[in-house]
């Protein structure tokens, strides 16, 4: 099989799907490998263009890179391409090109307490940073993870949420669902309200947030109320993307291209941009 090794940034290389995990009824986590392990090295929060070659391409956050082994993409079924992607089986070859974008500021966050706030599939990009912090545990302070979804069935990465991450040193994991349901004895309520209830101190802390626009909107208000300044709040944006290299035009917000200058911005930077995010 021809594994395109050309230098052209718009032409994908070929990877194989080696594992598929059903995270929720509409989210699957795809593990992909190239012949050499990973097709390219990715930093937390960076993006890659995945193609089910005869169907289409879509830009996804890389939700984890297992060094020299594989990349993980947690993908929600939401459209034509992801519908088809959810039908594939292990062994399927995909196209992948990247990595794109700036990624999370892992260096600048060293020595800080980390507060991760996620809703639904919004945990997928944050997971790469969360796992990075655990891998370099001594570089970061206290880690607090707050995650919510519509229902218990819609929580992804359950094994990590309930088993692995709470075992990590100096780490607290809080999980909530929108409405009460049978068999759920955890917290019930929306993420922003739970955040205010927990009231994690802004001192020496960086908050990293990703989720549905409505959750982000209210969580940002909560953080402001709790005393977080704009430099302490980081988010990762989503726009429609085609090229990934800042040429095709569509993912701009103001003069910034989300695929190239983003997708990660702090709130101070976002407030400089037109309110299209």
């Amino acid at each position: 099989m021809h594994n395109c090794s050309c230098e052209n940034p718009l032409v994908p290389g070929i990877v194989e799907v080696v594992k598929i995990i059903d995270e929720t009824p509409d989210i699957k986590n795809f593990y992909v490998r190239s012949e050499n392990g990973v097709p390219f090295n990715v930093m937390p929060g960076q993006l890659a263009m995945v193609s089910l070659v005869p169907v289409g391409e879509g830009m996804f956050s890389v939700s984890w890179q297992e060094e020299n082994d594989h990349l993980e993409f947690a993908i929600k079924r939401t459209g034509l391409m992801t519908d088809e992607l959810h039908k594939i089986e292990v062994g399927q070859k995909l196209g992948v090109r990247g990595p794109y974008g700036n990624g999370f500021p892992v260096e600048e966050c060293k020595g800080k307490n980390m507060l991760f706030i996620a809703g639904g599939i919004g945990l997928a990009p944050l997971r790469s940073f969360i796992k990075y912090c655990f891998k370099h545990r001594e570089d970061y302070g206290k880690i607090t993870i707050l995650y919510g979804s519509r229902s218990a069935a819609d929580l992804c990465f359950k094994d990590e949420l309930f088993e692995k991450w709470p075992q990590e040193k100096d780490t607290e994991v809080y999980v909530t669902i929108d409405n009460p349901e049978e068999g759920w004895d955890g917290h019930v309520g929306f993420v922003p309200a739970y955040l205010e209830e927990l009231n994690p101190s802004p001192e020496g802390t960086i908050a990293v947030i990703c989720g549905p626009p409505i959750m982000i909107k209210f969580a940002l208000q909560s953080l402001e109320k709790m005393g977080y300044n704009d430099e302490q709040v980081i988010t990762t944006l989503e726009m429609r993307m085609k090229c990934g290299i800042g040429k095709c035009g569509r993912c701009n917000i103001g003069s910034e291209y989300i695929c190239l200058d983003g997708p990660v911005f702090n709130l101070a930077q976002l407030k400089q941009l037109p309110p299209e995010w």
């Binding site: 099989m1 395109c4 196209g95 095709c248 035009g249």
Partner: protein
């Protein structure tokens, strides 16, 4: 000065066409454009070196309307990808005006700078020689000088033809220009001639300070007012020598096919429509505003110059009378802090 006599113009084109595909301005049917000399038919086409700017800019010669990127084949779970050989035939664009040369300069900035080189673009661009035709007599919708373009001295030209009585001064600017001149040197004559002087522009627009001012005008009511008649047809974006947005799409039959890119337009709803249903520029007004802010504020912030060359095509072609000149004027006159 080296002079190309009008009577020898076709001979020069013929000669250049032996080594490259030469595109020249012609009137074909109802519209003017740059067409290959190979397709010239004197019964149907008029060679028009005196036309100011043709209806359709020659940007498609560097950024084709559709372009294959790679072909693929799927067998079971296996997939193979093969790059499509780039179209590498050398091209000469002859008779191009300053506004359209500036358009190419902006395409160069987008596709060749800021972190990534677009290989498809570069393959074409490297093979293009630009023979510009200097303007001394601006047309009724021309305002290139207001947008910082010199009508008589286009920067990216390899050769500049300067119209004089009885022909053109052949003004070589680059090594590429020298190379092409070697092919036709015997058809040029050494002569002392007087150059025309530039006539005044009929259209003027004050762009100075507009980019800065627009930073505070995102919510200004002018966007509502000017976008109201816009039908979001996108003709402005297709005719614009600087609009470069593209889409990437797939054409597949059974288990094989190819991926290609094609022109797109920021005026269309699908342009920013996301799979989950969210669209950051849902309304026509929002797309209209983004288009003009991109030209007048965002591109200048990123690349230092406005993404408009003053060619006037969008003003002429718009079916509902939208004018970038009126918009710049309104920004200029608007109260600050609006």
């Amino acid at each position: 000065m080296k002079v190309l006599k009008t009577g020898k113009l076709e001979q020069v084109i013929d000669r250049l066409a032996q080594q490259a595909d030469v595109y020249v301005p012609m009137l074909r049917g109802q519209q003017s454009g740059f067409y290959s000399w190979k397709t010239y038919n004197e019964d149907f086409d008029d060679l028009m070196f005196d036309i100011l700017n043709v209806y359709q800019s020659p940007k498609h010669l560097i950024l084709p309307q559709t372009e294959k990127m790679y072909s693929f084949r799927q067998e079971g779970q296996e997939v193979s990808i093969e790059e499509v050989a780039a179209d590498i035939e050398p091209k000469v664009i002859m008779g191009i005006r300053s506004c359209d040369v500036r358009g190419i300069e902006y395409l160069d900035e987008v596709f060749l700078t800021k972190g990534y080189v677009d290989e498809f673009y570069k393959a074409r661009r490297d093979k293009i020689t630009i023979i510009a035709n200097a303007c001394y007599n601006p047309g009724k919708n021309c305002f290139c000088d207001s947008m910082g373009v010199s009508p008589t001295d286009p920067e990216a030209a390899d050769v500049i033809m300067r119209e004089v009585n009885g022909g053109y001064v052949w003004d070589v600017k680059t090594e590429k220009g020298e190379a092409i001149t070697k092919q036709i040197e015997d058809l040029l004559e050494e002569q002392d001639v007087e150059l025309f002087s530039l006539k005044p522009f009929l259209r003027k627009v004050e762009y100075d300070g507009v980019a800065e001012k627009l930073k505070d005008m995102f919510e200004h009511p002018m966007w509502e007012k000017y976008s109201e008649p816009c039908q979001t047809c996108g003709i402005c974006t297709y005719l614009c020598p600087t609009c470069y947005c593209f889409d990437i799409q797939v054409k597949a039959w059974g288990d094989e096919g190819y991926r290609f890119r094609c022109w797109d337009s920021c005026m269309y709803h699908e342009y920013t429509q996301m799979a989950g249903g969210h669209n950051p520029r849902e309304a026509a007004k929002e797309r209209f505003r983004n288009r003009f802010l991109h030209k007048l504020q965002f591109f200048p912030e990123r690349y230092g110059r406005p993404l408009c060359t003053g060619c006037g095509r969008c003003i002429v072609a718009c079916p509902t009378g939208v004018s970038i000149i009126k918009i710049i004027d309104e920004v200029k006159e608007a109260e600050t802090g609006a």
